[in-house]
Symmetry: D2
Subunit: 295 residues, 4 copies
């Protein structure tokens, strides 16, 4: 297929490379052009303007947040004004439910199609085309986009005809991860002050009930208080918890654990944690307990 | 070894049977004698009194709570008064850190040995001798008890010389499970009110980031609102969260997520949930959101 | 002074009447014209359009929320486009810190002046010109507006040169009130389930430590479970807690009690409480405790 | 009346002095005898043993906590073993609901009477005989004790026939105060980081909606970060919140705000706050917000 790709961060560049590898003619755009050029050798056309990435049957956006997506979509030079009739805007960014809903409506009005397709997976998974794609939108649009999802991921989960449902699933997934971080942080603060070695504790837990990689990965970071460099930075964690709460607010679903997480992230950021990995939230319980790090 | 076993609930009966199967001469005691007699055909001696279960090299207690353990241990007819010098009291009940500490001191004073050895695993795992044993106490006592642990579990984790550390680990583990229940409850309340099918959502989550059986098991119960019959009853869940908080209080470790869980359990019990499985805590977020069950 | 007044709800109509009473030439505007006409007999000029209320030295806006204020201020027919140079926009609505900041900047750019002057007091206080005015903005603007504040209130508190500080104070004040509601709700749920009469309890508390009218007023509503008709509706309470949290988010100030309140308001609204007084939040603790009302 | 008084801390000594002043023959006992002797010049008989303070028609206990009261009441030399038939034990200590209930039952069994009569008021109020007495117990016992309450307080509130109800009211009152501390702490952290002077803010709030002395007193301590010397020490604050939660646990009343307060107190104590006034809890929100004190 002919496809555009807007947003070449760590995730985007890997996803675009896999589209190329799967044989899709891919035109890439990035605000900082250098990142786009790195893909030229892999066969990508490099666009100077967003509009030039919107000529094909589909265009991905993989950007940092609502503001970045709005900037790319709206305005004369944006996706909305330049995408062909029936072409599909595939939004893979982790954005708000509200914006996704608005994009769906605006594209429909313009005779275009819109699919929300956020992904689960770290950059390594993106490079290996092993992402999980959570997709939502009109069934025909999902069908059309399927080969593209196959190119970037190991499995696609179609969750709804309403595009914003995919964003809701993505946000709730990140909320679940943040909950794991908080619960491990509290548990380790407790057992550690009670004299149990944190790594040994983690070994017990992950060898028995909590074998999921997420417990191993985040548990290790918390046990070792190794919050730098960030794999997923704390401000992004706050953003996603905030968006989950905003979705809960809109739907009138109180989320007390998400509220607790939001307060934790704010505490972290207010105390110099903006460059840390979001797992640093898991270090706050020990701080509240007056436990000083051995480091 | 010659060993006694006090407390033949669903877990205890399976553990005692495995001790017998492994060739240990086992004398069993239960307040309701009928349960003890069921083990006679498997070779158990049935004791009429606690004292008679205390004649060997070790005696297990596997009872409901602090009160039950105190009742079995203290007093003229209790474990403390009847256990031989150097014999080991192996406490596998999920009890408070404070009581475990007190038992360690009292047995030491009496020239006896004490090991805290709570277990992870449901009754099926107990039957299959597949429990995980978290053990703490003096190294020589742990060594002496090792063959017994091998008879009931698939792996033993020695976590500390201080017996109560094992209880702390056990309590924190149950806190982690309760945290999973709460986080899944909130996430499902959110996506479900947003139009996503709960089972489909669970499939996405457990197929991607949260593959641990615990997410599958509890997620399914919450998605189906199937909280009866209880596998682990809500009042026991409250008890364990309460004990984790008590340990945190003693050690001065604030545990805001555990506090949230405690309030959830109280809400559940105050509204008729005392016969439900503790996963019913995962149904409260949906209730707060005004979502009515399809049932 | 020549002054305009936009927004004639229960509060606005009383404030405009007091401006007239104090001798200020007042032009009033309301989306629903009937409410404006009611003031004509008191000497008000009735404007057909917002622009016509912007001809004087100052114009008040007293509207429901950010959206209403934005609609009144921006656009060709709005306050910003029609206010004279050096004239003052006095914003008395309870709006977000962010919008107040933006209004300050936009008016400055247009050569106009801007004062944030939210008020404390119920409609009765507004009628009696007994409001408390919390005012912030450039000192000269505050000086110019002083006679107007004197006309509507019993005392003016100038809190900062930065207009949005007044909004922050107002929001935090409403947060304090909501905190009183929650604390009374929990306390009464506790003592009441313990057998103490709620009204008698309230009498003890307000006769001893908590003599402030706010404890008497809200305590009585909660004790009697009399949440209708709303004096200040629950959705407005949620709005203000939400704005306090948004301000905390922007300033990186975690507010766990405000988070708790937000979840309470969402629970209330999700369960049919949108027509109730915000004191109904004080009834939720009893509901969680499974206490059924005597009514 | 002939009366005994056990426990001569800051509060007790003032209460005993007022009993003497009102003409009651008072025998005083304190573990540290020196404090008792100070009352001899005012006419008190000084008892060497608790038993000697139990010879009259009534005996007050005014002690630090459950442990101290249990130590004074139980055992051969205690109140229970030495009080005459029909004489009244008046328990003014802030103790648990559970202990109060147990005392009521044990005294009834011994043919004695029991009244719970905790008080509201700081030491100055105790000296001026201006305490508020919250009293509960059998009506005849309350009637008999009335002259004693009149001697120490400005007003007595009989709240129930069940003695422990008075303790519940006292605990819930301290919970309300702690809630004021937390809410002021959060509000001030917010406005202060937003550029508003904390003392000026407090002036606005206490001049308008929150005129109660409690807002002025605690607000001032928080604004000035003046948490030493303690008027009411943080560990006592934690104790009372813990007892309120324990009562809630027993009655199945979830108290999320009390849970938050408990975590705050633990954080304070875990970080060196055990010698501070309980209002120091109101300084934690600013700390979480990364706001550094000017001191």
């Amino acid at each position: 297929m002919q496809v555009g790709f807007i947003g070449l961060g760590q995730m985007g560049v890997a996803m675009a490379a896999n589209l190329l590898r799967a044989g899709h003619e891919t035109t890439v755009y990035n605000r900082t052009r250098a990142k786009a050029e790195a893909l030229a050798s892999a066969g990508a056309k490099v666009a100077d303007r967003i509009a030039d990435a919107c000529r094909g049957e589909a265009v991905f956006t993989m950007l940092a947040d609502d503001e970045a997506v709005e900037a790319a979509v709206y305005g004369d030079g944006g996706v909305l004004a330049n995408l062909k009739k029936s072409a599909i805007h595939i939004s893979s960014s982790t954005i708000s439910v509200a914006l996704s809903k608005r994009l769906a409506a605006d594209h429909a009005r313009a005779g275009q199609r819109y699919v929300a397709a956020p992904v689960f997976g770290r950059p390594e998974a993106a490079e290996a085309a092993k992402l999980f794609v959570v997709a939502a939108g009109e069934p025909d649009a999902l069908r059309s986009a399927a080969p593209l999802f196959d190119a970037i991921g190991q499995r696609t989960f179609p969750v709804s005809d309403a595009a914003e449902a995919a964003n809701l699933v993505k946000l709730s997934g990140n909320f679940l991860i943040a909950s794991v971080i908080e619960s491990l942080g509290e548990a380790m603060a407790l057992v550690s002050k009670g004299g149990v070695d944190k790594n040994q504790y983690l070994d017990v837990m992950t060898s028995t009930l909590f074998g999921a990689p997420i417990y191993k990965t985040y548990g290790k970071l918390i046990a070792d208080e190794k919050f730098e460099p960030p794999g997923f930075a704390a401000p992004l964690g706050l953003k996603d918890v905030r968006l989950a709460l905003a979705a809960g607010d809109e739907l009138q679903v109180p989320l007390p654990l998400a509220s607790l997480l939001r307060d934790r992230f704010l505490t972290l950021l207010a105390n110099g944690g903006d460059k840390l990995d979001w797992s640093a939230v898991g270090g706050l319980a020990a701080k509240d307990a007056g436990s000083t790090s051995g480091r």
